[in-house]
């Protein structure tokens, strides 16, 4: 029964059922993660910090009529034989009394942290350990204490007043009829601060993509989906994450996100150009002493022959010693030889922060993400 002055258990009660429901949904998303990832449908819906996931059929099953042979009564203009306009033809609308939810789809919102959590649990990813010595330490003042002296602007009024009141009562100078409290020097209390050192882990993610003619739209979509999840995961571990996009064919340039996914060039391929540019950008804007850097390169592995030794040199001497992780994902292309993979794969035995894999199709995305992120650097 509702208690007279509001029910104390209300609110908490629905909170529990709601949490239970969220848990269920989370489980559902988790178990279908590869499907969701392969379809890439949540990326388009990414809001500021929320992802909406369409989640059909979490209803409790019951005996119901199918849509075949079903119908109902409607109202409005129209001749027999005309189709109902598409928006209204939900299956399940056959009930005249109309309180059936029909075949609707539930949209559930997840924060990016929750998504990262689900991804991490499902793929059993280790948490990223930011490289300690490279953390910037910033100091911040926190007002936590009280002391006897200080500037008037920091005077703690309530405490001062209380002390003065106590003193006046105990010394008998307090008059209830004329309750004037006058603090003296000894009553005054001031806020004091402590310096707090906050470790600030910052990271930069550099995406490099081959945009030579041999990369098709489907392959770009794969890159897009993979980079979304990589973003999600890495961003869950750092306070500030910056992203750099580099495209290359025979030469490399830095671009914005939109251009990154929508450019198509027809030139040849020179991978070293991208590595060189990445290295320059890192040196200039994100010095390895202060930044955790994550580099990912997507290509179909069709490189210009003479360029391969240059790439290997750059990786070995410049990039790998300075970055947390270098991921190379080779998308399968209908054209091209894809033999760059072999060269770079050879290196990965020697550097544990170099990860290489192949992504032949969308179904392989999940595995590829797992491999790229499971180093825990």
């Amino acid at each position: 029964m509702l208690e007279r002055n509001g029910d104390r258990s209300m609110g908490q009660k629905i909170e529990r059922d709601h949490q239970r429901f969220r848990k269920l949904v989370r489980g559902k998303v988790k178990s279908n993660l590869s499907k969701y990832i392969a379809r890439g449908e949540m990326i388009g819906k990414k809001g500021k910090d929320l992802v909406s996931i369409p989640l059909p059929q979490i209803d409790i099953p019951q005996f119901r009529f199918g849509s075949k042979g079903s119908g109902g009564v409607g109202q409005g203009p129209g001749q027999p034989g005309q189709p109902m306009s598409p928006g209204q033809s939900q299956p399940g609308a056959g009930q005249a009394a109309g309180d059936q939810p029909g075949g609707h789809i539930l949209e559930v919102d997840f924060t990016m942290e929750e998504m990262a959590g689900i991804l991490g649990e499902e793929l059993a990813l280790p948490r990223i350990e930011p490289r300690g010595k490279k953390n910037i330490v910033s100091t911040k003042d926190r007002y936590t204490g009280i002391r006897q002296t200080g500037p008037e602007s920091l005077r703690h009024f309530k405490r001062t007043f209380k002390r003065a009141l106590k003193r006046q009562i105990s010394s008998g100078t307090y008059n209830g009829r004329d309750p004037i409290i006058v603090p003296i020097r000894a009553d005054k209390q001031y806020r004091s601060w402590k310096e707090v050192k906050l470790p600030e882990a910052v990271a930069v993610i550099v995406y490099m993509m081959d945009v030579s003619g041999s990369m098709t739209d489907e392959q770009k979509e794969i890159v897009r989906i993979e980079s979304f999840w990589i973003d999600t995961w890495i961003k869950a571990h750092y306070q500030g994450v910056e992203t750099v996009y580099i495209i290359h064919d025979a030469q490399a340039k830095e671009v914005d996100e939109h251009t990154f996914y929508h450019t198509r060039e027809s030139g040849g391929t020179k991978i070293s150009s991208a590595y060189l540019l990445a290295q320059q950008i890192l040196e200039k804007r994100y010095p390895p002493a202060e930044w955790n850097s994550y580099l990912f390169h997507f290509s179909d592995g069709d490189n210009w022959g003479d360029d391969i030794p240059v790439c290997v040199e750059l990786l070995k001497n410049k990039l790998l010693p300075n970055v947390n992780l270098f991921g190379y994902a080779q998308v399968e292309s209908p054209y091209g030889s894809g033999d760059f993979f072999d060269y770079i794969n050879e290196l990965s035995g020697r550097f544990d922060n170099l990860v290489c894999n192949r992504v032949p199709n969308r179904d392989a995305i999940l595995g590829s993400i797992k491999q790229l992120l499971s180093t825990g650097h």
Partner: protein, 518 residues
């Protein structure tokens, strides 16, 4: 997080309540005492998620409903104006942030519902202390959660809720059979032994000739066999209350049986509200509009009232709004009985012009609609009072699913079709008819259900999942015989896999026709 607040009516609303309650009584409405609670938007979403009962048992599906309601409210898509609980006293909830006009409208509407709850025949058998009972149900289930674990109880609840519509709504008023007595262990002592053969009176020395031993033995054997046959088949007649059947015969633990009976009780409590949606909402809307426009509204409130009233009455193309259909039908009935447009004389009149201006000034309208609210549910309401003129006036049509295009098409504007579709959608809540046919199917303790096919196939994926839930309760294989694409089909779940047998009759042809038995 939640600070307790006073849910009592503030003084200005209390005055309004008394005013509107007075109007309602003056019009002849008859209701239980009505208690209004004023709550915040968030809490009204919560209460609505629990079907109106803040003390209901815990289940994730209420959390889901809450998420949808809250989102709907937060994004401004939907707003719950009114919620009223069939109980003595009636409870109704008002949203704190609503404007005074809305509060008036809601109050007037609520008194319509309260009157309907108290007087409509279909509510006669509902519990009027459901607030308390629901709280008891909640406490019981919570105690099971503590004893047996949240996951286990929740999984069981999921199963029960999956079949909570398999009840026999009319069994509240019509006794289908004697209540079974669980502790009656003396079946044979009182009743005559049915297996005994007929003996004819005879003198001792003639006995052997009049009652030959061989014949007696043969007859006894035959009777015993018959009896065994009969005992093999239960229920004796197909039973629509599948929940009751499971409660009585399924091998459940006590706490599970209790939960299942809780679910069943609540299903029976809510059933009349589903059966009278159109009549009930129509009645309440009729009274809010009557009370507001004739008594309670001030001149400055007209526009807001009109806006909100029309919002409630808005029709969408594919879904008839029960508020609108109900209020219009009631007004139509009132008009017809006021002007005498009923009965043989009117029906047989061929003169269109004469019919159009027909007025015998009988003034029986109000009286008639009070009668409607007393004795009708949606089905009888529409069956009795829907007229061809009404369908034309309101531009009604029927639509049907077309398999090739995967779309609904406008089918017809014929009165007969419209009425038939409407009634079909209301019969058994627009849900399939499912019966228990045999609880000892194939003499192997399997459960046979039957879907009485009325022209629309079952949704097969849902049916399979539901079957799975029933199997978990019954613990032996479960079958349902239905028709798919015009062919008799039996769906089976044996605990590990689903099988579909089409074409053939189910193995046990003794009783597969529930409609014709008895």
């Amino acid at each position: 997080m939640h600070t307790p607040y006073d849910t009592r009516l503030p003084p200005h609303l209390r005055a309004l309540k008394e005013e509107i309650e007075g109007y309602a009584s003056d019009y002849g409405l008859d209701f239980y005492e009505t208690i209004f609670e004023v709550v915040d938007a968030e809490d009204i979403s919560e209460i609505a998620a629990y079907g109106g009962f803040p003390t209901r048992y815990p289940h994730w599906s209420f959390g889901m409903a809450y998420e949808e309601l809250k989102k709907g409210y937060d994004y401004g898509l939907s707003k719950i104006y009114e919620m009223v609980i069939n109980n003595d006293p009636c409870y109704a909830y008002l949203m704190r942030s609503n404007h005074v006009v809305d509060q008036k409208l809601v109050m007037a509407h609520v008194y319509g519902h309260c009157d309907f709850f108290k007087n409509n025949a279909y509510f006669a058998y509902t519990s009027r202390k459901m607030m308390d009972e629901m709280a008891n149900h909640g406490a019981r289930i919570r105690s099971y959660v503590e004893r047996f674990g949240e996951d286990e109880v929740e999984a069981f609840l999921d199963r029960c809720m999956s079949i909570d519509d398999l009840i026999d709504i009319h069994s509240m008023a019509i006794r289908r059979r004697e209540d079974s007595v669980r502790f009656d262990f003396s079946p044979d002592a009182e009743r005559p032994d049915l297996t005994q053969a007929t003996r004819f009176k005879s003198k001792d020395y003639m006995d052997e000739y009049i009652n030959p031993r061989d014949t007696l033995r043969a007859e006894e054997n035959q009777r015993r066999k018959q009896r065994e046959e009969a005992m093999k088949i239960f229920p004796e007649v197909p039973q629509k209350d599948v929940l009751l059947f499971l409660i009585e015969y399924a091998p459940l633990k006590n706490w599970q049986r209790d939960i299942l009976s809780i679910i069943r009780d609540e299903a029976y409590y809510f059933a009349p509200q589903g059966m009278t949606k159109i009549a009930n909402e129509g009645w309440a809307s009729y009274w809010h509009s009557t009370i507001m426009t004739q008594k309670a509204m001030s001149a400055s409130e007209v526009i807001d009232y009109a806006d909100h009233h029309s919002g409630t009455m808005a029709m969408s193309r594919a879904r008839l709004n029960p508020y609108k259909l109900g209020i219009e039908l009631l007004r139509d009935v009132e008009m017809r009985w006021n002007t005498g447009r009923f009965g043989r004389e009117y029906d047989e009149c061929d003169d269109v012009e004469k019919k159009r201006t027909w007025n015998k000034e009988l003034g029986l309208g109000r009286q008639k609609i009070f009668e409607v609210r007393r004795i009708h549910n949606d089905i009888t309401f529409i069956d009795t009072f829907l007229t061809p003129e009404f369908c034309v006036q309101h531009n009604l049509f029927t639509y049907a699913w077309q398999e090739q295009s995967g779309q609904f098409y406008i089918e017809s504007r014929e009165f007969a079709k419209i009425k038939q579709r409407l009634l079909f959608g209301l019969t058994n809540f627009g849900k399939p008819w499912i019966y228990v046919i045999d609880g000892n199917f194939r003499n192997r303790g399997e459960l046979l259900l039957k879907h009485q096919h009325e022209g629309v196939d079952l949704k097969l994926d849902h049916a399979a999942e539901t079957l799975q839930n029933i199997q978990a309760l019954w613990s032996r294989p479960v079958h349902i015989s239905t028709i798919v694409d015009g062919k008799p089909t039996t769906l089976t779940f044996d605990g590990t896999e689903h099988t579909t047998k089409s074409g053939g009759e189910p193995d046990d042809p003794r009783r597969t026709n529930p409609g014709k038995t008895r």
